[in-house]
């Protein structure tokens, strides 16, 4: 099969077999959900319900008049018990099923209508960054979309939820892609899938057979194959300009799971209040793929998987390369939570950092063709001008450099700090 790719990147151990074969299971209803008012980059929402009010599942409970924001819906039926600046807490019965209706179809909708449905349903990118989807759908003045790419690469080790949705519900994904094509006026859609998911490739080829403007692109198994810029490079052989956006090369990238959610928003009028999450790692008793209500605590989700093993040592929200380590299990599942990964004591390496031996492994691995060794050294010494001359801000924070460094220098961490320092200096001026 064709093997499209990009230059650089790494081949970590994938460990997907832990949860790959597990069909998505519906998680038992949580008694209480905590819905954060800010679940993504952008403006936080304002509550539109009051304490003591009864709400039903799927009801809008918070929104914002800012453009870069997505409204929030209740994920269970029950009573609002707490409203603060940060979140809304809802308590309810054990049984709040969202009634699936078949309300409309893309053929009867205009592009504007599709965009407003996407916005009303509170859709965000479900690959991790959780950027509001409707914002991405509007091309800036003077630019237009030619191609829509769906990211089904799922290149992060351990995670399998995108893989599962691709083999379990391929029609939804293709439908979502067609909606995206209509909403943006783009001509061609691609679904990029890594070659280690042959069943997903097969399923989506079949589901998209009837549409000549949709093609499944097979990709080399490599991290970060699903990075927006890497995906565009691999499939379209175009480079997003430095400081630019995918639209500069006429492309729009969305996650396959987001596409499935678009289907639900259009066809079933179902807003985004639950999502599939991979719960995995050697520290989990029984790894699973679960459909989880937004607002559920990690603790409850993990209990559904038999809990943690004795030697559980690190909990990560997301994948091991770009995910965030969380301090405790009170952490909440949000719209952007793609996985909960539990690493064990012997997987958590606590070795000391050594001097750079100039082995250049980081340079060879960087998919953005940067020199992480220099960027990190300049950031550490606050030599911001030099760091920017070496294109500090072109770093996508994929972590390949830190992964390969034999001296265990936290390269991407130093680079992130450098960016942060420069940004806060700029903000002060």
């Amino acid at each position: 099969m064709e093997k499209r790719s990009f230059k650089g990147g790494i081949h970590p151990l994938y460990n997907k077999e832990l949860s790959q074969g597990k069909a998505i299971e519906v998680m038992g209803e949580p008694k209480k959900v905590t819905l954060p008012l800010q679940q993504h980059i952008g403006a936080p929402c304002q509550p539109i319900v009051e304490k003591g009010q009864d709400v039903v599942v799927g009801q809008k409970i918070a929104e914002s008049d800012k453009f870069v924001s997505a409204p929030i819906h209740s994920s269970i039926t029950g009573k609002v018990v707490e409203v603060t600046e940060k979140h809304i807490v809802i308590e309810g019965e054990q049984n709040s099923k969202f009634e699936v209706k078949n309300v409309r179809d893309i053929d009867s909708l205009t592009p504007e209508e599709i965009r407003s449905i996407v916005k009303e349903a509170g859709l965000v990118g479900m690959g991790g960054a959780a950027f509001p989807t409707h914002v991405k759908l509007s091309a800036p003045e003077g630019k237009k979309f030619d191609t829509i790419l769906l990211n089904g690469a799922e290149c992060e080790p351990y995670l399998t939820i995108d893989h599962r949705i691709m083999i379990e519900q391929p029609e939804k994904i293709v439908y979502g892609l067609r909606a995206l094509l209509k909403a943006t006026g783009a001509q061609k859609g691609y679904i990029g899938i890594e070659l280690n998911k042959p069943d997903a490739i097969e399923a989506l080829r079949k589901a998209s057979e009837a549409y000549d403007n949709i093609e499944v692109a097979t990709l080399e198994v490599k991290y970060p194959q699903g990075g927006e810029k890497q995906l565009i490079k691999a499939i379209l052989d175009k480079e997003v300009p430095v400081g630019g956006l995918p639209v500069d090369v006429g492309a729009l990238v969305n996650n396959v799971y987001t596409a499935a959610a678009i289907y639900e928003a259009i066809k079933e009028d179902k807003p985004l209040f639950e999502r599939g999450v991979t719960i995995t790692g050697k520290g989990v008793v029984e790894p699973k793929n679960l459909l989880v209500k937004v607002g559920t605590t990690f603790k409850e989700v993990l209990e559904q998987c038999g809990g943690l093993k004795e030697n559980a040592a690190k909990i990560i929200s997301g994948g091991p390369m770009m995910g965030r380590a969380v301090a405790n299990l009170d952490e909440i599942v949000t719209k952007g939570t793609s996985g909960i990964l539990v690493l064990t004591e012997d997987e958590v390496e606590l070795v000391e950092e050594k001097t750079c031996i100039k082995c250049a492994r980081c340079v060879d691995a960087c998919p953005m063709y940067l020199m992480p060794n220099y960027l990190a050294a300049y950031s550490r010494k606050s030599m911001h001008d030099d760091a920017q001359e070496y294109h500090l801000f072109n770093c996508i924070e994929c972590g390949c450099c830190s992964f390969v460094c034999p001296s265990r220098i936290p390269l991407v961490h130093l680079i992130r700090q450098g960016k942060w320092e420069i940004n806060s200096k700029r903000a002060k001026k």
Binding site: K314, C359, N394, V404
Partner: protein, 324 residues
């Protein structure tokens, strides 16, 4: 459930290849060359390699470690690499002549002066093994290059293949290793095996040995063309000259193990290629025009000095940057 978890920045998984792993793997890649040396020179090779390596580990331990544990003594493997490489670059006659202590002295200079005076692993501008060797050649020229012995049990004094006026060794002899020279020079085959291992494991980049040997080949062909003109035998003569230059002396050992030293070679891809080519060019110039039998040491040390310049001027085009 335990509620006290480790937090820290992403990525949360790391490649298992730490410094220790890589350095000891380089030692593994040197095993064929060590075996070949011992086959051809007998116990002399063993004594020299043992002396230089043990001394290197000892000096490293003196500087870095205070406790007495086997692991501490073995360190991160970088001192072992230096010791073995230095040993391989010494002539076996040292043992016969009672100069084994030169191996220890060379390691001392390599580890104490070339490495730790500059701040230790990662900070040294010049390859320690080569500095050690250059020091010995400069201070004890007679012992270091005056006498070579032939291989085999009844070893006698002889000249190296590269010495002026020396009878030609056949290419097959040079390739397999049955010729006089330094320990590690003898067998091209052993070095190639080690080199393939390093390339396959991703420890070295082909650009350095490729540029190195490529530049040597191009220069050799030119040399043959200039000295004997383009006649009917040209292709054969040029081919012979290329292989002779590759397989004689320290060229191959230097291209595979010494020029590729991480610390002292450039970190950009282009820089590595240019640096390799530079090493090959300087080596050939020394061989043809300086009449020194041993050019590789000086060629690489010279290029080590230029490494920061290569890094500076070969910064890669970043993703999405429009070519100017």
């Amino acid at each position: 459930m335990n509620n006290n978890f480790v937090v820290g920045p992403s990525p949360h998984i790391k490649s298992p290849r730490t410094i220790d792993y890589i350095m000891w793997d380089v030692v593994v890649a040197l095993i064929p060359a060590m075996i070949a040396a011992t086959i051809f020179y007998g116990m002399a090779a063993f004594y020299i390699l043992f002396a230089s390596t043990f001394a290197a580990l000892f000096f490293e331990w003196v500087v870095l470690h205070r406790t007495f544990k086997v692991r501490d003594f073995l360190g991160d493997g970088s001192a072992a690499v230096t010791g073995v490489l230095l040993g391989l670059s010494l002539p076996p006659a040292l043992v016969q002549d009672g100069y084994l202590w030169l191996a220890v002295l060379g390691s001392g200079v390599a580890i104490l002066i070339a490495k730790h005076v500059f701040g230790g692993l990662g900070k040294n501008p010049f390859n320690p093994a080569l500095v050690g060797r250059a020091f010995l050649v400069a201070s004890f020229p007679v012992m270091m290059t005056g006498r070579w012995i032939t291989t085999g049990v009844d070893a006698v004094t002889s000249a190296t293949a590269l010495a002026p006026g020396q009878v030609d060794f056949t290419l097959r002899q040079l390739f397999v290793g049955n010729v006089p020279g330094s320990l590690g020079e003898t067998s091209a085959l052993a070095i190639i095996i080690g080199g393939i291992y390093l390339l396959a494991k991703g420890h070295i980049d082909w650009r350095i040995p490729g540029g190195f040997l490529g530049a040597m080949a191009v220069m050799s062909v030119f040399h043959v063309g200039i000295t004997q003109g383009i006649n009917a035998d040209f292709l054969q003569a040029a081919g012979h000259e290329v292989l002779f230059q590759w397989f004689s002396g320290t060229a191959l050992l230097a291209a595979v193990y010494m020029a590729t030293c991480y610390v002292t070679s450039p970190t950009t891809k282009k820089g590595r290629l240019y640096y390799g080519i530079g090493c090959g060019l300087v080596l050939i110039l020394i061989r043809y025009y300086a009449q020194l039998p041993e050019g590789a040491t000086y060629a690489i040390l010279f290029m080590n000095a230029l490494t920061p310049i290569f890094d500076r001027f070969t910064v890669p085009r970043t993703f999405g940057e429009v070519k100017k």
